[in-house]
């Protein structure tokens, strides 16, 4: 006899057996999230930004007719019936034309800012997502092993986390970034060239590990004392099995909350590192490198800082608003925080 039959009330023969199955916690959370208009709007907007950035080659080819690294220093463009130099004789690039060519103006090399903005966004998002993935995977593994086995495993892992955590993220990132972007990495199967996008992703992912691993480890420590873990142990389940099938599913809501937070943090850190020259390497554009290049000319051409700066803030803000919405619907205490559910 299956559990379903056991639970069902004895029904007269011939009648349809109907059981009302309650919605699972995730369906409930999703339903609550849907009611939070602000968070949904932010999520949709973020998706729109991602799609726009992915379509960068289309924009470059069919609208702007120029690539992200094509210089047009001596070219001219017609704005409002007048012919203008893309970069003036004293080196000041043209501002936003609001036309198909140089929609958001040009930079000091005569490159189209709008095209670079889209390509740069692609790189920034790629670094942000890959860094998040690296952080989450390593942090969850470390937290599971440290929190479940305790003892010397825990001590060693926690000390290592403390070491990474002791450096301000940007300082450590810049230090490792400078040493790696020069020559690349070759660690066994991992072989990255100096200019690779995955080097900043790897560094950012590494630097962020303790901020995720420490709180999750705390949760694992609390979970391992729960009855269901004892039950699994009496059934002779091994450590790995308990970690993956008993403890990990109970961490999922925390993990879901950390994902948007880490994407946002990684994008910001990437911008900071690129600003200091230790992140994405030229000629690859990223929002951070574009701002860094533009700051020198901010007095004459503020659009060089404002365009990538606003995109960066807007993108990270959308992720954060969406992330806060997700956190509120998953957090059982949010009712006390005046959050309508």
């Amino acid at each position: 006899m299956s559990t379903k039959e056991l639970l069902a009330p004895a029904s007269p023969p011939g009648e349809e057996l109907r059981i009302q199955v309650g919605a699972g916690p995730y369906r409930l959370a999703l339903r609550r999230l849907r009611r939070r208009k602000g968070a949904v709007a932010a999520g949709v907007f973020f998706l729109a930004i991602v799609i726009c950035c992915l379509c960068a080659p289309l924009y470059a080819r069919y609208i702007a007719h120029t690539g992200p690294d094509d210089n047009h220093i001596s070219a001219t463009v017609i704005v409002g019936g007048h012919r203008h130099n893309v970069v003036s004789l004293i080196g000041i690039p043209i501002g936003p034309t609001w036309g198909p060519r140089f929609l958001l103006g040009a930079d000091f090399n005569g490159r189209d800012v709008a095209v670079r903005l889209l390509y740069g966004g692609r790189n920034s998002l790629e670094v942000g997502f890959s860094a998040m993935a690296i952080t989450m995977v390593i942090a969850i593994l470390v937290a599971l092993f440290a929190g479940y086995y305790r003892g010397w495993v825990d001590s060693v892992l926690v000390r290592l986390l403390d070491v990474i955590w002791a450096y301000p993220a940007i300082l450590l990132g810049v230090a490792i970034g400078t040493s790696l972007t020069l020559g690349g990495i070759s660690l066994g199967p991992l072989n990255l060239k100096g200019g690779s996008l995955y080097i900043p992703a790897l560094i950012i992912g590494f630097v962020n590990i303790p901020y995720v691993a420490k709180p999750i480890r705390g949760q694992v420590i609390a979970l391992r004392e729960k009855e269901f873990v004892d039950a699994a142990r009496t059934l002779d389940a091994g450590g790995l099995r308990i970690m993956l099938t008993e403890i990990l599913p109970n961490l999922s809501s925390t993990i879901v909350v950390f994902v948007p937070l880490m994407i946002a943090n990684s994008i910001l850190l990437e911008a900071g590192l690129s600003y200091l020259g230790a992140g994405v390497q030229p000629p690859n554009p990223s929002w951070g490198t574009m701002i860094s290049d533009g700051v020198r000319l901010i007095t004459s051409s503020p659009h060089l800082v404002l365009a990538p700066g606003l995109m960066l803030v807007l993108t990270v803000l959308c992720i954060n608003i969406f992330g806060e919405g997700v956190r509120d619907v998953l957090d059982p205490r949010s009712a006390s925080r005046g959050v309508r559910r």
Binding site: A166, T178, T299, G309, L312, N320, V339
Partner: protein
């Protein structure tokens, strides 16, 4: 309690030792970064490079080099590769600017963080709370160098009411010191204010529904007294702990970006400049010095926590 302190201190020492090894190793693995050939210049003969390597000890085994470097750091006789300047002197020169930045910004972000956090708990979920929450999220989402450069553009270049960077010592001219520090303080503080106000808001709203707060209210205490004596007392502790760590990070040169944008010539900017020239000794000393500050403050915070809240498990 004493056992806890001893234990925490020992742990701190272990982490510090690991930090020093780790920092040293980061710069040992720099590919193409052989300092001897870089110092000798482009036209050097192999003999000259070998001589430089010998005099700086680059040809010794790594652990000897490590011990040698640590010895030089502890005796304060580290010199930089380029120009052979004493690194410790250089850091001391940068400290006044960095301390000015940290102290001023620290006061601003703590005060405003608490005020904004309190304001948003007056009527949670209503207009004021939502507006402040949105502003807080925006400030967290904006990188400091964007805030900094936009503020510079508006106030220094467009309106020209504030200087465009640089540092004037407090002892030289207090008013000019203030004028030069104002924009760096604001740009550094904004993200912190956003973050602290959110943390405090969460803490206060959680505490409001605790049994001891309901008890205090049931006793007939005024809501002001409940707030100050019961709710705030518990809600502020984590915020203060956070503040200690962030403050240590900024003093340690963690505000690299702000210091560089505003040309404050502080410790962080020194680090940024050394990184650009791959000058390893200054970066190593600064990174180690920052890490030491953060680790020591973290240990102090933990001990203070255990002292303030006896429920914290002392064997954790």
């Amino acid at each position: 309690m004493r056992r806890f302190i001893v234990r925490r201190t020992l742990q701190t020492m272990v982490v510090l030792a690991l930090v020093s090894v780790f920092t040293f190793l980061i710069f040992q693995v720099i590919p193409n970064g052989d300092p001897a050939s870089r110092m000798a210049g482009r036209t050097a003969t192999p003999g000259q490079i070998a001589a430089i390597a010998r005099s700086w000890g680059f040809d010794r085994p790594i652990y000897i080099q490590y011990l040698h470097t640590m010895d030089k750091i502890f005796t304060g006789s580290v010199v930089s590769y380029s120009q052979q300047i004493n690194v410790v002197d250089q850091i001391k020169r940068g400290l006044p600017a960095t301390i000015s930045l940290a102290a001023g910004a620290g006061i601003i972000w703590l005060t405003f963080g608490i005020v904004v956090g309190l304001l948003s708990t007056l009527r949670p979920g209503r207009l004021l709370d939502r507006t402040l929450g949105f502003l807080a999220l925006t400030s967290i989402s904006a990188p400091v160098f964007v805030i900094g450069s936009v503020l510079l553009y508006v106030f220094a270049y467009k309106a020209s009411i504030l200087p465009s960077g640089g540092y004037v010592p407090l002892t030289a001219n207090p008013w000019q010191w203030f004028e030069h520090m104002l924009l760096p303080w604001i740009s550094l503080s904004l993200p912190f204010i956003g973050f602290y106000s959110r943390v405090l808001r969460g803490n206060i709203l959680d505490a409001k529904y605790e049994d001891y707060v309901r008890m205090a209210r049931a006793k007939g205490l005024s809501s002001r007294r409940v707030l100050t004596r019961h709710v705030l007392r518990n809600s502020l502790i984590p915020v203060m702990a956070l503040w200690g760590l962030d403050f240590a990070g900024v003093i340690g040169g963690g505000a690299i970006l702000i210091e560089s944008i505003f040309d404050l010539q502080g410790v962080g900017q020194y680090a940024a400049e050394s990184i650009q020239t791959l000058d390893v000794p200054p970066i190593m000393v600064i990174v180690m010095y920052t890490a030491v500050l953060v680790v020591v403050v973290a240990a102090l915070v933990d001990i203070l926590y255990a002292y303030l809240d006896p429920r914290i498990s002392l064997n954790g």
